[in-house]
Symmetry: C2
Subunit: 571 residues, 2 copies
Amino acid sequence: MLLRRLPILAWLPNYNFRSGLADLIAGVTVGLTVIPQAIAYAGVAGLPPQYGLYSSFMACFVYTALGSVKDSAVGPTAIAAILTRENLHGLGPEFAVLLAFLSGCVELLMGLLQLGFLIDFISGPVSVGFTSAAAIIIATTQIKDILGLSFPGGKFLQVWAGLYEHIGETRLWDATLGLGCLLLLLLLRKVKDIKVGVSEKGGGGRGRAALAQALWFLSTTRNILVVLVCAGLAYYFDTKNQTPFVLTGEVRAGLPRLALPPLSATVGNHTYTFTEMTSTLGSAIFVVPLLSILENIALAKVFSEGKYVDATQEMIALGVCNMAASLVDSMPVSGALSRGAVNHASGVATPAGGLYTGALVLLALQYFTPYFYYIPKASLAAVIIAAVVFMMELHVFKPIWRTKKVDIIPAVVTFAACLLLRLELGIVVGIAVNLLFLLYASARPAVRVTSALSSDGVPHVVASVDRALAFPSAEFVRRAVRKAADRDARAPLVLDASHVQAADFTAARGIKALIEDFHARGQTIIFYNVKPSIAEVFRGVRPREFLHCSCRAELDRLLLEAQRQDKQARA
Amino acid sequence: MLLRRLPILAWLPNYNFRSGLADLIAGVTVGLTVIPQAIAYAGVAGLPPQYGLYSSFMACFVYTALGSVKDSAVGPTAIAAILTRENLHGLGPEFAVLLAFLSGCVELLMGLLQLGFLIDFISGPVSVGFTSAAAIIIATTQIKDILGLSFPGGKFLQVWAGLYEHIGETRLWDATLGLGCLLLLLLLRKVKDIKVGVSEKGGGGRGRAALAQALWFLSTTRNILVVLVCAGLAYYFDTKNQTPFVLTGEVRAGLPRLALPPLSATVGNHTYTFTEMTSTLGSAIFVVPLLSILENIALAKVFSEGKYVDATQEMIALGVCNMAASLVDSMPVSGALSRGAVNHASGVATPAGGLYTGALVLLALQYFTPYFYYIPKASLAAVIIAAVVFMMELHVFKPIWRTKKVDIIPAVVTFAACLLLRLELGIVVGIAVNLLFLLYASARPAVRVTSALSSDGVPHVVASVDRALAFPSAEFVRRAVRKAADRDARAPLVLDASHVQAADFTAARGIKALIEDFHARGQTIIFYNVKPSIAEVFRGVRPREFLHCSCRAELDRLLLEAQRQDKQARA
């Protein structure tokens, strides 16, 4: 139990120099990825840049102790950032920090109460629709920066309307830099796939292996490289007293203060109480944790290589990460698939890699912030767009179409609702629509009706119901069976319940009414192959008579008897 | 089609003197019941008494033409009245009339769009919980009147707090009259069951038959009799210049004006626009129609005697009834089970009975309103309490307990939520809780695991899934099957899908991942008895390999092959 809840106890005793070196290399590589991402995601969330860095160390430390997936690299993510932006309503960092704390509480609670099954209700199509819409919205928020434009409004439609209006004010230098960076990032991403002439025989010499290694490193650290080069360029122009690019500007130096999460906040003249803050954040308190867990568990599954993923432990770890991070002014954090991939490819050995990532971020906060001043906003926008462009999972629509065409509907509804309403409202709408499919199926089971002859030659009608009988289907099945009985009003009806796996009170009352119906018509109804537990449920409502059998021979006998009684009654 | 949508065309051509007489007797009897009820229910709805009468004629006329159930007697009901009260927020009759109109629109729309299946989602337990809570709330609103008390506040807890506070101010005369009336009404209700010595041989003479008839009439018209006697008493005291009872007071004489439903309303200094009125009424616009339809269809089923009930036609009829009634200042109307029973017992022949009921109400409005002045409020309260006391379906809890104990939960949750929150919110909470049961069942199907030997002696593990595979269960089933495979990592696993009736994209992706899992472990997974349509869904995601068979012999062959391959791999 302790091993499950404190995974560090499992790997720490066997920790050695080799693992340490692997973790150091991987941790630093992830750190070089996370620093530019963190500054950029703070912008996505509508927060000052240092908040991105504040979010990128504490969670790493905590995850080292509690995390069960070595490849996970916890920190700010695109989805969490855009959800934060949409729920801050421009009200400042205190709200983001409180959101991190409350998300952590919800995640921890979900872990402790074993509520992980809730994420099962986010289906594949809904998840695809949501992620694609989120990617588009995030990219949209960055297009302003790429073009060097500046106008108010952050919503999808607002931004496009603004772009249309202000496109003439595009700053040429920013646009050139932004698009150049974007192109470069996409190219560098491909660089690691270049085959540097490693021959079929596995040979090729040390030189080639080193080149392959170098290309991989170039590709993996492309974000920071591009950002550094751009910052250098901006610095160069600055020494010449030129400022062709819009720059990030002042990043507050030094570590954040350690403090309890803010339980009240003053914005302008108004002091928000805890209750007001919570109601401002609204449903985000549940949506952010749900999506963070979804992303974290998806990541865990990708890198588990067929091993068991302890979802409960991941929820607890993520919860404590967020709660601890909120003590150092963090916005909501989660494992990100992109950084997880970097970590994995860098050969991380244990979750201890996070220690080095966190340390690097602390160093950056302490010593490097003056240099961040020169990072052009357009280059950060390029970093983000190059990341989210691969969140657009349009290719998934094809297999959805091939497997179950109606599943396109929840995907498209989620996508549209996320774009046109707010993101977290959109996913709720998508889930609701998808649940309607499920409920409709359980409300309208298939009732197959066939005419048959018993081995004694007694004609009868067989109606078989294909799934559980519950309140939404009770009345429907009653109607369907009665209609089936109309086929031949003199023949007994056999209700085949072989596929009925459950029943409730409303269904039992429906069955009672059905028996009454048949009695009123003077027709016999025989229940066939009802599971004992369900027969018990049916008998609970005290039906007039409950003719029931579970084998062919018994059924034949009952049918013969029914025919005899019918003849007697008519005679 | 025309016959289905205008049921009057079916019975009018065969209408004769005999049917006419039967309808006259039944219609007048129902009228004598509905007049005191209407005045009382107007009080329940928080409206002036004449609005009850306004609600009791137009709908009767319309239902004669459109209704398909001869026993239904449309008019104000206890449930519709209490829901109206809770959603008026004391804002006056315009809101009630608009609610009637909008409810009518929703009902008509539900009929035209075939949305009748929505009421299937109100399960037996939820319906019991709601009706019982509504009965208690209605009775609560009347206890003030019975005791002659007067204090503000109409909510359940408010009223009981007020009663506790003001109980010392109880008016002795009102309390005596009210409790006396209540006792008398409950006794008179039983009177019709008295056996007046009709002998076994069916004899007993004309006298006895007439006596039985008289007792039945006494019992059936008990409401108006009690109210009339009390009004007479009050009039008598009035002539002596004494007013021991709180009286109904002025009932506006004359017919209501004929006008379009109010699209704006002025209350105090504020003029509510249509949008404001609609948002004030809120969810009532959907809850009132849903419960009206529920009551109407329940009534139709009770009196259908095993015949087919055209739910669509009933929704259309109810919708037009409400829309037409709203033109004459009506509150929402529906068929009431109690009046339906009177109608049925009075031997109504066709829906034309409503014509006489409506005519009687019009006469009452035109000529009798001065006499209604003298009706003591306590007697009306007694009429209501004597009616709603039988809506408390506590006896249903016993069969629920016998059939499916967990079904008690939605019943109790609905009951408590209706009492403590608002009524229409309570039923929504109840439905949601009940749906959670359904969703949990579909998220967590039973996976039965057994070890088996093929006819060739190949040991294997069989996992059978008991219901449809959909997004909430996809991950769960994947985990369960993998766990089952751990039983014997060398034996092939057979996934028996005989009971799986449907699958979606998310489930297909789960199956694909499962096949990958097994491939990574070097274990064989064979799908058995997958329905062709579902196999198609699984194949849509292009799994690595999809071993599938539908008969024993083929399965045996595949198992033997798997064993051979396994031995080869290990050799």
